[in-house]
């Protein structure tokens, strides 16, 4: 499907920002440079990542999110109804700007479409439209406005749906809706998260993906297979493919975005290791179900680590194709 090879290679969304862009973002915060100057550097960094993806030989591209800080705050900043409450610690000395819902939420205008167009204009390979899902935006924000989480989540779902429709109109053939918080309250809220995803993907003809990580995936399996998307992208590598046991019990009926690269370790994996991960996964998946990707966004790695990891990933996928005579 989609003119892609067996085991298409892709990434989860974010890439590390080059030092000149980090510096420019700091200067912009202090008002030392103009928005237009920052924008030019964001475009330059995006071009560099498109070029690197071409050189690496990936099959489905991302724009690398050079213009986003945090995956939730970015959408909050661009939408009505949000303010930034302040910095909150997530672990160690990592802090993130946590949004707060202070009024009715909704889109002012398309959020990601212009960046999608820009990135897609630079390559003949398909670029994924990248969205943060409504449940995750709601869960990772404070809420001072809506009486219930449900009302907030469903209103956000309608806004993200509009964004997905606009991405599709702009030519996106792949749309990814990240829901890393989806298993936060697996019993209480999974149905709500599913209902929200139904709203987001309603009527789309693009190939849809959701990315889920960091949490208790077995608790929402096999219910997770009811999510109305074509592919579920999961982190397998960081727990040494332990999830495969779960999928052995109950067949995985969607395409799988197979995380074969640990996004949070400095160590660069070998192609052999990637090949081994793919082989092991073929004990529970059909080859045509498998897309090959890292566990998570790579923005916390260095550029060298990222390129090294992705080179190993692409080579591992190539060898896996070869083994099946599909090279």
């Amino acid at each position: 499907m989609n003119g892609l090879p067996l085991f298409p290679t892709t990434t989860v969304g974010s890439f590390p920002k080059p030092p000149y862009l980090l510096e420019a973002r700091r200067k912009r915060l202090r008002g030392q440079i103009e928005p237009e100057q920052l924008r030019q550097l964001e475009e330059q960094a995006t071009r560099e990542w498109i070029q690197r993806q071409e050189e690496l030989g990936l099959d489905v591209f991302v724009d690398g999110e050079m213009y986003r800080g945090d995956m939730v705050a970015y959408f909050a900043d661009e939408m009505e109804g949000f303010a930034i409450a302040g910095l909150v610690r997530s672990y160690g000395n990592r802090y993130y700007p946590k949004p707060v819902v202070v009024g009715p939420v909704g889109r002012r205008r398309p959020i990601t479409v212009e960046w999608f167009r820009f990135a897609q204009s630079l390559t003949g390979k398909p670029v994924k439209g990248m969205l943060t899902g409504p449940y995750t935006i709601a869960e990772w924000s404070f809420n001072e406005y809506y009486p219930t989480r449900r009302e907030l989540v469903l209103e956000l779902a309608r806004a993200i749906h509009e964004e997905a429709v606009d991405l599709e109109r702009a030519g996106a053939r792949f749309i990814q809706i990240d829901e890393p918080a989806i298993h936060t309250r697996p019993d209480e809220d999974f149905d709500l998260a599913r209902e929200a995803m139904e709203i987001v993907t309603d009527g789309l003809s693009a190939y849809t993906i959701t990315h889920v990580c960091y949490g208790d995936v077995p608790r929402i399996y096999p219910r997770m297979l009811d999510l109305p998307v074509h592919q579920i992208d999961l982190a397998l590598k960081n727990e040494d493919f332990a999830l495969l046991e779960v999928f052995r019990q109950h067949r995985f009926t969607k395409d799988i975005g197979l995380g074969v690269i640990d996004a949070h370790s400095h160590r660069v994996e070998t192609a052999e290791e990637v090949l081994d991960g793919i082989r092991r996964s073929l004990e529970v998946f059909e080859p045509r179900q498998v897309y090959v990707s890292p566990d998570c966004g790579l923005k916390t790695r260095t550029i060298d680590e990222t390129v090294g990891k992705l080179a190993a990933m692409v080579e591992g996928a190539r060898r896996a194709r070869e083994e099946l005579g599909a090279g």
Binding site: G86, V88, R89, S90, G92, Y95, Y214, G215, N238
Partner: protein, 326 residues
């Protein structure tokens, strides 16, 4: 009624004020300052956290847990038998902790909290409650690669933490708070929890507060009531069904209730009236002179301005409640 904080406090102020702790932590990582210099920054930030709590008007404070990376690592890294592994989500929050791994027999090596308690006490005009992560929670959030049975693991952690409580006890604190949120997610382990709690409290003379949060205590509260603790702390926001617990199980006459009713996880500031109504409701089960009014949990989920506003509100509610009853 007593007003109290029950845990962590944001380590950095709101922008644009410089986050000294954060800058120092980065410098420590890069080897640009020494451990000793970093400790002095932690000292200063601890004093800030205490000053904010005292300034808000609380009757009892914590040290803000400024020196804690997270409630697991802070203890596990100074006990025998643990190594520290990768990041895991802490309950249903968007906060992560480094997971301790039991690689060998777990044992107490040295006091973890005692120096911190002494420091906080000497810099606070109000009584300070030291906080210790409970054995069930510490074991449950760890990986076990050593013990054939989880219960053996929990009981060894309980023995080790009993040494910690005894070391604190020697300082005669007004109260020692033990946090056991994990039992609310694993009620099937209640018998093991009870056994671990008994081992933990063995020979401890200081009054103890058992705190739970992020859920309700349906089905387990009776065991909390039976333990030799002075305070039972419950979260009435994430655990809104704790109201049903009070309805069905009542509250023992010889215990205090840690009444967590100001939401530690949302910036929305409760109104004075809203909390007064909650106090009125809880007074049907517990007389107000046996209520410890506080946030539902530690306040590091909030930016500092919002955290401070919550503490100020708690003290305001107490003043308003006294006027009503006067």
């Amino acid at each position: 009624m007593r007003t109290t904080h029950v845990g962590s406090y944001p380590k950095i102020p709101d922008l644009p004020a410089p986050g000294r702790w954060r800058t120092a932590a980065e410098k420590l990582q890069r080897g640009e300052i020494t451990r000793e210099e970093f400790r002095r920054v932690e000292d200063e930030v601890t004093r800030e956290a205490i000053a904010d709590q005292v300034g808000a008007g609380l009757d009892m404070v914590t040290d803000g847990q400024i020196r804690w990376e997270d409630p697991q690592t802070y203890f596990a890294r100074r006990m025998d038998g643990f190594s520290i592994d990768g990041l895991q989500r802490w309950f249903d929050t968007n906060v992560y902790y480094r997971q301790p791994v039991a690689q060998g027999r777990v044992a107490w090596r040295e006091p973890v909290t005692v120096e911190d308690y002494r420091f906080a006490r000497s810099h606070s005009p109000r009584p300070v409650r030291p906080v210790v992560t409970g054995p069930y929670t510490l074991a449950r959030l760890s990986q076990n690669r050593y013990y054939p049975r989880f219960s053996d693991f929990v009981l060894d952690v309980a023995q080790a933490l009993n040494r910690e409580l005894r070391a604190l006890d020697a300082e005669s604190p007004p109260l020692i708070q033990v946090d056991e949120p994990a039992i609310l997610q694993h009620k099937e382990d209640l018998a093991l929890f009870r056994e671990a709690a008994a081992a933990l409290l063995e020979g401890v003379r200081a009054p103890v507060a058992l705190y739970t949060y992020f859920g309700d205590a349906r089905g387990v509260v009776r065991v909390f009531y039976e333990l030799p603790v002075e305070v039972v702390g419950l979260d009435f926001v994430a655990g809104v069904r704790n109201w049903e617990v009070l309805e069905s199980e009542g509250f023992p006459q010889d215990r205090r209730l840690g009444f967590g009713v100001v939401d530690a996880r949302n910036t929305r500031l409760e109104t004075v009236d809203e909390v007064l109504r909650a106090l009125d409701r809880v007074s049907r089960f517990v007389p107000l002179d046996r209520v410890d009014l506080g946030p539902t949990a530690g306040l590091e989920f909030l930016p500092r301005r919002a955290a401070k506003a919550k503490l100020v509100r708690i003290a305001e509610v107490k003043r308003a409640a006294l006027e009503v009853t006067r």
